[in-house]
């Protein structure tokens, strides 16, 4: 058994290595949030300063862009998770007419190049005379995140044992009760994973958003535009804060689970 435990430790270390690898560019981003840069470009280290933290909200459009991004990500994630989980359940558990087409559409939504999706959504909104704003961004983000939630949830659902739900129903639970007490807890890891993917996709999207945004600007849009003249250090600081808050949430979560056990 010692071999086994050694293997587990190795895997633990390996997992952390992968996390560090994935986070390594973030370290550079954090560092350059402290760069005492004297020109618009922020690519060479010129000394330490806390100035950008003090001037964090000095670029009003950037602040608005960040807020837009977070609101859009939250709303679109909630919608995607609800309807995506429903469809994932239907596909993973039930037989119904139109399942083949549904599967195909779920695939098509992933495989459509982003640019094509953005452009065709814009044509659709224009011909439907729908004004482009945060709502159209949310609609589009739900569209491209939906398949990821569906696929993730379905992968969970197909591994479930349907007899559990049957047992619950036999014991007199209502359909809703069965879902809340039995099904939902069982598929929760899939739902959560889908939610995280969906949030990450939304926060990071540039291409589709750039078509359907009207005059609403999001964080990635603002940054891509700023590349032309140099990205202000406040962008790094905001990135740092997003990351920092994320780490705090993770730590809080870790501490909370320790208490519980």
């Amino acid at each position: 058994m010692r071999g086994a435990r050694f293997g587990d430790r190795l895997l633990h270390l390996y997992t952390w290595l992968v996390i560090v690898w994935l986070s390594s560019p973030i370290a550079v981003m954090i560092l350059f949030g402290f760069n005492d840069k004297r020109s618009k470009s922020n690519t060479t280290w010129q000394g330490f300063t806390l100035r950008w933290y003090g001037e964090l909200f000095d670029i009003p459009d950037l602040t608005v862009a960040l807020r837009n991004t977070l609101v859009i990500a939250l709303v679109s994630t909630v919608i995607t998770v609800v309807i995506g989980t429903m469809l994932g359940l239907a596909l993973g558990r039930h037989r119904f007419r139109g399942k083949g087409v549904t599967n195909f559409l779920v695939f098509a939504a992933i495989s459509t190049p982003e640019l094509v999706m953005g452009a065709s959504l814009l044509s659709l909104f224009v011909s439907g005379n729908v004004p482009r704003d945060a709502n159209t961004i949310i609609v589009s983000h739900v569209l491209f995140s939906l398949s990821f939630v569906v696929v993730t949830v379905r992968a969970r659902v197909v591994t479930l044992d349907p007899s559990l739900e049957e047992a619950a129903r036999d014991l007199g639970a209502t359909a809703w009760g069965t879902f809340r007490q039995v099904t939902l807890p069982a598929i929760m890891p899939g739902v959560l994973a889908g939610a995280m993917l969906s949030f990450a996709l939304s926060v990071d999207d540039y291409v589709v958003t750039s078509f359907v945004n009207g005059s609403t600007v999001t964080f990635p849009l603002w940054i891509v535009g700023a590349v032309k003249t140099g990205i202000p250090a406040q962008v790094n600081v905001m990135g740092t804060l997003i990351f920092g808050i994320g780490v705090l949430i993770a730590i809080a979560n870790a501490v909370a689970t320790r208490r519980r056990t």
């Binding site: 470009s41 009003p60 007419r97 083949g100 599967n103 195909f104 659709l124 197909v158 535009g225 032309k228």
Partner: protein, 404 residues
Amino acid sequence: MNPLMRGMTQPRTRRDVFRLTGLSAAGLALAACGVQGQKVAPPKADAVADYWAKQTKNGKVVFANWPEYMPEDKGPLERFKKDTGISYEYKEVIQENAEFFGKADPVLRAGQPLGYDIVVMTNGIQLQHMIELGYVVALDQSKLPNFQANAGQKYKERAYDPGNKYTIPYTSGVTGIAYNTEYVKDDITSIESLFDAKYKGRVGMMSDAQEIGNFGMIALGIDPEKSTEADWKKAGEKLKAQRDAGIVRKYYDQSYIDAVSKGDIWLTMAWSGDVFQRQLAGEPVKFIVPEEGGTIWTDNMLIPKGAANPVDALMLMDYLYQPAVAAELDEFIQFVTPVPAVQDLLREKAGTAKGAAKKALEEMVDSPLMFPTEADYAKLRSYTQLTTQQEQVFNPIFQSITQA
């Protein structure tokens, strides 16, 4: 069987697909009417006068621009508001010309307003399409006194918009060569250096068909503005040979500037404003206009069709040509201003400033990147003017090199 595959392989799928096709009849109808052409003839002079006669000042203006193209305190716009009583909305919504056109096109095609009164676009294919498709409001020349009085001659005579009919410049830049002085010890003067096997794998070229095509032609002694299809092909061959010899490391977009300042590439096609900012940061990069010539590009202000407040927009466009306002803008943007008087104003300001601010201002005033000399201007060429048919020949010649 896996659900996805089952869906795709079972016989009833085919029926489902037919059903799907039926559902999308609406989509087909939508497509059929969505892409009609509408090339328009330029409006007659009376039509322009009629249009402007019907417009009134509304007391507000919506300005769509690139990020970092306006001081953070919006100084020039605030002054405009104080002087004219016109309130403004300023939106940093333009990130890229092609993309901006891509999203403006369906809206304007459907005859809907973009929601902006002023839009800034670089001269080039997309701007040309905007004009050709009738998406741009012809300007009332009588309402541009500051522009007439203060714009440099070169900015009033632009081949892509003769007579300043549709646009006036916002800011300009030069395409030339940048090199990293840590790695390149010679003084680069010629465009031939970009084709020099000595720098194998260390040369950056731009991916934009116009930019790279121009440089290929300039290297062959051809003026891009007067070039023919045969010239493009010759330029294409030269650029292909350059690629096949392994001289080019990569065809860059904006990211060339990081690459050259870090030494990933040693010399590259470059835009003046970028290099100037890197110099201010103390990075070892130098910019030259090759002796054979470089190109000048301009970001232009225009009023899109359907704009709600064209009179206010025109007032603001002209207002930005007051030398003091232009100076404030240029000090922030650090590209080439269309108002030559700015150089003296910034020099005066440098005279009274102190410390780091003084030094920065002095560097700006003396920089040929912000204020090219007459000799620099003499070497500068404009983009090739292309019709749609020509473009369909021009683009593939160079894209087959940059996108192999």
